[in-house]
């Protein structure tokens, strides 16, 4: 809400020493947050005066333009009293017009300094100003076609132009929260200013209004719930084509509205002043009585913006004999709008149900100044005063005659009574506030307070429909005391549990990977159908079962992702594109795996949901496991003076998963697999027992191409929740032997297709309890072992807990290990 300070001061008698800063800060601390202050005069320095055009000689120029050589009476403002000679390029004025003159020495917005200068063969001593040259809206003061031409009575030549133009009148813009709709009016802002400084306040809505009678325009309200109050006033002989006075046009402009025509401007002006939206109808275009009712199915209206709209049965309508003539509180219709030929006006000043207006506004995407106020809550006791104020202005400014008929249908609802314990504001705020102070402050904001023992019965003011609950009154009291008065006290907290085990382990995962040279990223979880194709997912892949957003930001990416790989690959490509060839990324984030049962109930709020209701909520929220993914390209060990580097690849992706599993104390098993988006020969399934928790390996070449990442990029993705579930919470302390170790190396030749893990498992099993460790230290393929075969060399270490092993014992264990490997995997000891 924007309002000029002069308008606010009209209704509150602020002490002279209240500065603009003090006022705006006080309003902010009362809940009307300052957005900004605009003061158009800030960058103008005078002299800027009124002048009367004495002579105007058009002089055609060679360039085809015509300029006017003028003499202008600027009174004594130029120090001589002589007419000022000025060249002017505009054409929208005649001799005798009152204009705005900028004399030499003035500086206009943009640092534009005015001096006497020779131009078009004359010495032009100043400038006749247009609105835009003064930093005002182009169309202010009817200045759209050229210079400003003021009404003849706006002042005398030589007068300071600042107050006439409203320059120097600061316009404050306040952010009005939904609970303070009353402050969407000068009436409300002035009231808060008065509250803030204890200053006298003159309520512009406090006016004597004529009593209702039956002589007014007939109105029938079929839906009193949607329209509790409807006031209709009529005027005759209104001169719709009369100009809107400058003071009104200026204020409308300052408040951010465009002056349109006198009739419309008056209704808008009253809305800004009082907060009551009004609507004017051309009475001669109305067909019979006005009727307020809900729409019927399929009914249509053409609204003021020229749009043909099909109405919903929930829409509340203003109708006459011809059908709909307006959507209540939202926008009027075309057929009955005020025009330049209107002479008889019906002024509608009604109160409409907030929810009804809110829904219509949303349904028809029709936000308006009126609906903004109605949906937040307008003072239901305002309609008569507002209508009367509009009548007054139409009489005064449009030469209209006030009609005797006054229609009032319905009445404002009873003011609400909220009862609170007198100590509630103190108990909730932590401030010391006694009952007398509570009463005084509530009274100051407009409540009627009656003490009833320890309790206060509080009648909320009519303009505060938001005040419904005891805590609303607490806020009112505390904001008057001052939020800055609230003391700072730490609450006593019982001992907590600290981070949960899962939260701690997640931190460990991040630290483990970061320590191993991986860098964490955060990606948007939005993907498109296209991503599944790029990943090469088969049609029945469960990752294609997704939830979609109804209103995605980007229509190409409406899907909530089921895998972290698209985001990670895009980040990888971005890094490579920025000339970083060696990248190792990881991300842990939720993915969304819907089950198809995603239908959440909207429960009540009057009580806690029952166990069954809560279960329906939990069932409807899709499964969102936390995944962990890594992606690597380029060198994983750097080249340098120490020697060559090492390219990252499938083994690093699998290694990352193994590192994490080890850090968590989880035993994972790796087996060959072939799923998208991995290279079918370089894809590992990672398992905990029988459960596959993810995959790792090298990306399929076509996926690398599709995402624009380097060939041989390797990735892994696992269900981190599944890993964390199995994490070892308490590590058993190890026992180890201090007897000598016996080392044995074994080289086994097996078929190339035999997994090393199978050979190792067989060796372990065969070696028995004396085996301390086993490590594969070499893999050889080549002519010495034959086509389709490979040699695996293992270092075995044996140790007993209670004795030094004899050579015979060690040899026996070794032979047993080899024997089992031979039996299980066809391994043959290499000679």
């Amino acid at each position: 809400m924007k309002a000029p300070l002069s308008w606010i001061r009209e209704h509150v008698d602020l002490p002279a020493d209240v500065t603009l800063d003090a006022l705006t800060w006080r309003l902010t601390m009362l809940g009307l947050k300052l957005e900004g202050v605009a003061s158009p005069a800030d960058d103008i320095t005078g002299p800027l005066v009124l002048g009367r055009v004495l002579t105007r000689e058009p002089e055609p120029q060679k360039n085809g333009k015509t300029i006017s050589w003028c003499t202008v009476d600027v009174g004594e403002a130029n120090g001589t009293g002589d007419p000022q000679g000025i060249v002017c390029g505009a054409h929208n004025f005649v001799e005798g017009d009152l204009v705005v003159v900028c004399l030499p020495g003035a500086v206009l917005p943009g640092g534009f300094a005015i001096s006497a200068r020779k131009t078009y063969g004359h010495v032009s001593a100043g400038m006749i100003c247009s609105a835009s040259e003064l930093g005002l809206p182009d169309d202010a003061f009817g200045g759209a076609d050229g210079i400003i031409v003021l009404p003849a009575d706006a002042g005398a030549p030589g007068d300071d132009a600042f107050p006439v133009l409203g320059l120097g009148d600061a316009v404050i813009e306040l952010e009005i929260n939904p609970d303070r709709a009353y402050a969407l009016s000068v009436r409300g802002i002035a009231r808060e200013a008065a509250l803030g400084f204890g200053a006298p306040y003159a309520d512009p809505a406090a006016r004597r209004v004529p009593a209702p009678n039956d002589a007014g325009h007939p109105v029938v309200v079929d839906d009193p719930a949607g329209c509790p109050v409807f006031v209709a006033r009529t005027v005759t002989g209104f001169r719709a084509d009369a100009p809107t006075p400058d003071w009104m046009a200026r204020r409308l402009t300052q408040a951010g509205m465009r002056p349109i025509s006198l009739g419309v401007d008056i209704t808008n002006y009253v809305m800004l002043e009082l907060g009551q939206p009004l609507h004017g109808y051309d009475r001669d275009k109305l067909t019979g009585a006005i009727r307020v009712r809900r729409a019927t199915a399929g009914e249509q209206i053409t609204t003021l913006d020229g749009q043909r709209r099909t109405l919903d049965v929930e829409d509340l309508l203003i109708t006459d004999g011809s059908g709909p003539i307006g959507i209540a509180g939202t926008m009027g219709g075309e057929t009955t709008e005020l025009s330049g030929t209107t002479t008889n006006v019906v002024i509608e000043s009604a109160h409409f149900d907030a929810v009804t207006v809110f829904r219509s506004g949303r349904r028809h995407k029709l936000p308006s100044e009126a609906s903004k106020r109605f949906e937040r809550g307008v003072d239901p006791e305002l309609p008569q005063a507002a209508a009367d104020r509009a009548v007054e202005l139409m009489v005064e400014l449009g030469g209209a005659t006030d009609d005797a008929g006054v229609t009032v249908v319905g009445q404002a609802p009873q003011r609400r009574v909220v009862t609170i314990p007198a100590d509630l504001p103190a108990r909730i705020s932590g401030l010391e506030i006694d009952a007398a102070t509570v009463t005084a402050h509530l009274t100051a904001v407009g409540c009627d307070v009656t003490a009833d023992g320890e309790r206060l019965a509080v009648v909320a003011p009519s303009w505060r429909p938001d005040v419904t609950d005891p805590y609303d009154l607490v806020e009112e009291v505390v904001r008057v005391v001052g939020y800055d008065q609230v003391p700072s006290v730490l609450p006593t907290t019982p001992p907590g549990h600290g981070w949960t085990p899962v939260q701690r382990l997640r931190r460990r995962v991040g630290l483990t990977l970061a320590g191993a040279g991986w860098t964490e990223t955060i990606s948007y979880p939005f993907v498109g159908e296209d991503d599944w194709d790029r990943l090469g997912l088969p049609a029945d892949d469960p990752r294609r079962t997704t939830l979609r957003m109804a209103n995605p930001l980007n229509n190409e990416e409406p899907i909530l992702t089921t895998t972290l790989l698209p985001g990670l690959l895009k980040a990888l490509a971005r890094n490579v594109g920025r000339a970083n060839a060696d990248v190792a990324l990881f991300e842990h984030s939720l993915v969304c795996r819907p089950t198809g049962n995603e239908r959440a109930p909207i429960l009540g709020v009057e009580t806690r949901p029952s166990a069954e209701e809560w279960a329906t909520i939990e069932k409807a929220v899709p499964s969102q496991p936390m995944h962990l993914a890594v992606a690597v390209t380029g060198q994983r060990a750097r080249a340098g003076w120490w020697g060559a580097g090492r390219e990252g690849g499938w083994a690093d992706a699998i290694g990352a998963v193994r590192d994490v599993a080890r850090a968590l104390g989880v035993e994972v098993e790796v087996r060959a697999d072939a799923v998208a988006p991995w290279h079918p020969g370089r894809c590992a399934a990672v398992r905990i027992g029988e459960r596959v928790i993810g995959h790792a390996g090298e990306l399929h070449p076509s996926v690398c191409r599709a995402y624009g990442v380097p060939a041989r990029t390797a990735v892994a993705e696992v269900d981190l929740d599944a890993l964390l579930e199995q994490a070892q919470q308490v590590v058993p302390g190890p026992t180890f032997s201090s007897y000598p170790v016996a080392k044995e190396d074994v080289a086994l030749v097996v078929d190339a297709a035999v997994p090393a893990a199978a050979v190792e498992a067989a060796l372990r099993e065969g070696a028995g309890e004396l085996l301390e460790s086993i490590r594969l230290f070499d893999v050889y393929t080549g002519p010495q072992v034959g086509e389709g075969r490979k040699s695996l060399a293992y270092a075995l270490r044996f140790r007993a807990p209670d004795r030094t092993l004899t050579e015979a014992e060690t040899a026996a264990a070794r032979e047993a290990a080899v024997a089992v490997a031979a039996e299980r995997t066809g391994a043959v000891q290499r000679a």
Partner: protein, 368 residues
């Protein structure tokens, strides 16, 4: 080769003569003294002490002497050999020291060579900063609560006193999920976690909820459809706005240093009443608005930095979550983690947080 010969019985053996032994000894000593290095000394040892050395050979001749002469000769040889051994040991020690000294010089490397053999990793600063913030509260005895991103509309809105027709709903530009009757949203704030907590735990409740949230904001330097919030919730007997202020003051001091306190301005949120906006003293200019005579860039000269919203939990929220407002009261607060990261660390562009360029995360290391 010669050895003891009982049948042969000469009266004297030349090599065992006193002057001969002395000569052999002296020769050995001279050779030892002349050994240049450990390798040379090894050869000297072989030549003068080894099995084939003159002294060793002479020693073997002792047996050939008549018994009465053996003692003298034995003593002579023994002394000579003892002397040589000692000299050898001494020389060995000297040469070893010399050798090590030389090696220490010869093995000198350029210690300024780069040592970055292993690539550097990092956690994302949002992750570590979220933890850092939560740690402040964990240290006070609070628990850390989490919830899903795809959330029931009822939990994201209705339970928080934002019914279907509440104007505040339109202020939070919500991602809705299909189909229309799914009544699911991408959570617009972390507040549904508070509702979940109240629905599943008994007071006293002290929880801090960091997490990712979603709104339909186009991406620019200060907006992102995905961002992070942290919210705090306390529900207990006798909780007041003063406790809220005390808690926030503690937090800003823990994160920004001594003396960095907060202030409240009245505001509106459906889930709190009274509601407040909270500002913190600018930690750069410490409230003065100026740094070295110039306008402080962190707070744009305001002296204060807007943090977020807070207030006393609206009793309607307590009721919807099954907590008796006649017995309990609570406070809640929330603010943006990304925004705080940006002003705390001078990050200029929010897009950097989500683009995955490793140059963004790496300077932050693993902890903030």
């Amino acid at each position: 080769m010669s050895g003891p010969n009982s049948e042969y019985d000469p009266v004297e053996v030349t090599s065992l003569k006193s002057e001969e032994v002395t000569a052999m000894r002296d020769a050995a000593l001279a050779a030892i003294a002349g050994a240049r290095d450990l390798e040379h000394l090894k050869q000297v040892r072989l030549d003068h002490v080894g099995d084939r050395s003159p002294l060793a050979l002479a020693n073997r001749e002792i047996g050939a002497l008549p018994p009465q002469a053996r003692k003298d000769a034995g003593q002579r040889i023994g002394q000579a050999r003892g002397r040589v051994s000692q000299a050898l040991a001494e020389r060995q020690a000297v040469l070893e020291v010399e050798h090590e000294e030389r090696m220490l010089v010869e093995e000198t490397v350029d210690v300024t060579l780069p040592t970055d053999r292993r690539p550097v990793g990092a956690r994302h600063p949002i992750t570590s900063f979220s933890e850092r913030i939560a740690d402040v509260f964990v240290a006070m005895g609070w628990d850390v609560a989490e919830g899903p991103w795809v959330e029931a509309e009822w939990l994201n809105f209705d339970a928080l006193n934002m019914g279907a027709d509440h104007p505040a709903r339109t202020m939070q530009d919500t991602f809705w999920l299909e189909p229309a009757d799914a009544a699911l949203v991408l959570r617009t704030h972390t507040s549904p976690v508070q509702a979940r907590t109240m629905l599943t735990r008994e007071p006293p409740i002290h929880v801090i909820c960091p997490g990712r949230v979603f709104r339909t904001d186009e991406i620019d330097a200060t907006h992102s459809p995905v961002f992070h919030q942290v919210e705090g919730l306390v529900v207990d007997r006798g909780i007041t706005m003063a406790h809220l202020k005390g808690t926030l003051d503690h937090m800003t001091q823990a994160l920004f240093g001594e003396g960095i306190s907060t202030r409240f301005r009245p505001s509106y949120f459906p889930f709190t009443e009274p509601s407040a906006e909270m500002d913190m003293v600018c930690f750069v200019c410490r409230g003065s608005g100026r740094v070295d005579e110039a306008l402080c860039r962190t707070c744009r000269g305001e002296g204060w930095i807007e943090l977020g919203g807070c207030g006393v939990v609206n009793p309607r929220v307590l009721i919807a979550c099954g907590i008796d407002p006649e017995v309990y009261s609570g406070f809640a607060f929330g603010f943006g983690i990304d925004r705080m990261l940006m002003f705390r660390h001078g990050v200029a562009d929010l897009r950097d947080v989500f683009e995955g360029d490793v140059r963004f995360a790496q300077p932050f290391g693993v902890e903030i």
